[in-house]
């Protein structure tokens, strides 16, 4: 299918306190499109029930071309090295493009 353009889907899961940090990071990297979901969950930093701002997660999806992925991963890695509790993963997505 020619109209399906192979791109990458970057998903980032983290505490909602980092929402602006992450969307600012995208903006700084010239990415103006993203999709944000409210989430709960659990992990090494304990249960995140989603009940209060303090224990809510977000799941951030960014569709982007492969060459923009490394720069973002660098920044996420830097945040994680500082101690921030983030999960990030990349997968393939064939994105519908018009024209």
């Amino acid at each position: 299918m020619k109209r399906l353009c192979p791109e990458k889907l970057l998903a980032i899961i983290g505490p909602s306190a980092l929402t602006e940090t992450l969307t600012d990071m995208l903006r700084r990297n010239g990415i103006s499109g993203y999709t944000l979901l409210q989430a709960s969950g659990a992990g090494t930093s304990g249960p995140q029930t989603g009940m209060l701002d303090i224990d809510s997660n977000i799941m951030l999806y960014v569709i982007l071309s492969e060459e923009r992925v490394p720069a973002l991963l660098d920044e996420i890695e830097r945040l994680m090295r500082k101690g921030h509790h983030l999960k990030a993963f990349v997968s393939d997505a064939a994105v519908l493009a018009i024209e």
Partner: protein
């Protein structure tokens, strides 16, 4: 009036119901946005309430109360930090993050104390409401300073504190402390309550006052479930640290009661309130601030301590205890 019949007030019982529901593994489920909506409502209501009181307060006493609120907010975290570091149960950065929570306050605990006093027909000064709004920020500032200091001691790059919030919080620490969402809402509502003419505030009365107690009960039902979820985590974190979550409020209450009863010359009600402020630990405003600015600390430690141990301890055992403490101090002094 004494004895645990004091606990038979709806707010405490709803907290216990939520706690119990989780302990017996009931599938009672709260929609996530309800909890958040209730905490926004409660902050708005208590802010307006405090602002209205501030509007008719004695300015000198108010300034006096604010001064002592700031003192408590600065002193308590330092005390908590020293205790935690010397206990050697947590590293210095975790100690700093935890300490900030104990210098700040829990609006939920405060409102439960208010319900407790009103239920028992005990009068109280309104200045503690003003102190509540003031105490969130200094503790955050001190927490961040302690964290910065710990980082230097641990040899972590000193510019880390700045870059930790890069892109978003250029001016760093103060921004984190004063632009925190709940600080802005509480302080903003307080200013509105103080500035608007009382006749114009009257239209807000049913929303802000009449349904307040019911909304608080619903909120505490939910917080009971949250607390129960976390109390189980205390085994993971060790008994010594869990004990800190019980002893620190006792020490805080004593200091607070002395401030309320002696430095501020409040009556039994007001003194109880100041003791509760000093005894309580934040679980709304401080955790996100620490998440952002002290990412090295483990959130499950400070959230478990403040929400899973100190909060239920204060609500169930602490408040009546601090009330008696206040009676003793005010009685001795008069």
């Amino acid at each position: 009036m004494h004895g645990f019949s004091n606990l038979l007030i709806p707010a405490v019982l709803f907290f216990a119901l939520g706690f119990l529901a989780r302990v017996v593994r009931s599938d009672l489920r709260f929609p996530p946005d309800l909890a958040k909506a209730l905490s926004i409502y409660l902050l708005m209501a208590i802010g307006i309430h405090g602002g209205v009181e501030l509007g008719r307060a004695n300015l000198l006493t108010a300034v006096h109360a604010v001064f002592w609120a700031i003192m408590l907010g600065l002193l308590l975290p330092v005390l908590a930090y020293v205790v935690l570091v010397s206990s050697r149960r947590v590293d210095a950065l975790n100690a700093a993050a935890i300490a900030a929570h104990y210098g700040s306050v829990s609006a939920g605990t405060f409102m439960t104390a208010k319900a407790y006093l009103e239920s028992n027909g005990i009068l109280y000064e309104m200045y503690p409401v003003i102190m509540l709004a003031v105490m969130e920020s200094p503790a955050i500032v001190i927490g961040l300073l302690l964290a910065g200091w710990s980082r230097r001691r641990l040899g972590i790059a000193s510019d880390d504190a700045r870059t930790a919030a890069e892109g978003r919080h250029p001016s760093g620490i103060l921004r984190e402390a004063f632009l925190n969402g709940s600080v802005v809402l509480l302080a903003g509502a307080m200013v509105i309550g103080a500035v608007v003419a009382p006749t114009r505030m009257a239209a807000l009365h049913p929303f802000v006052n009449d349904i307040f107690m019911g909304a608080l009960c619903l909120f505490l039902l939910e917080m009971g479930m949250e607390a129960a979820l976390r109390i189980g985590e205390f085994r993971r974190m060790g008994v010594a640290l869990a004990l800190f979550g019980v002893l620190m409020p006792l020490v805080g209450a004593l200091i607070g009661a002395l401030v309320g009863g002696i430095a501020l010359s409040f009556g039994v009600g007001g003194t109880t309130m100041v003791a509760v402020l000093a005894a309580s630990a934040s679980y709304i405003a401080v955790p996100p601030a620490m998440r952002l600015a002290v990412p090295e600390a483990n959130p499950s430690l400070y959230i478990t301590l403040s929400l899973g141990i100190t909060f239920p301890f204060n609500v169930i055992v602490g408040i009546p205890l601090y009330h008696r403490l206040a009676e003793a101090i005010v009685g001795a002094w008069v």
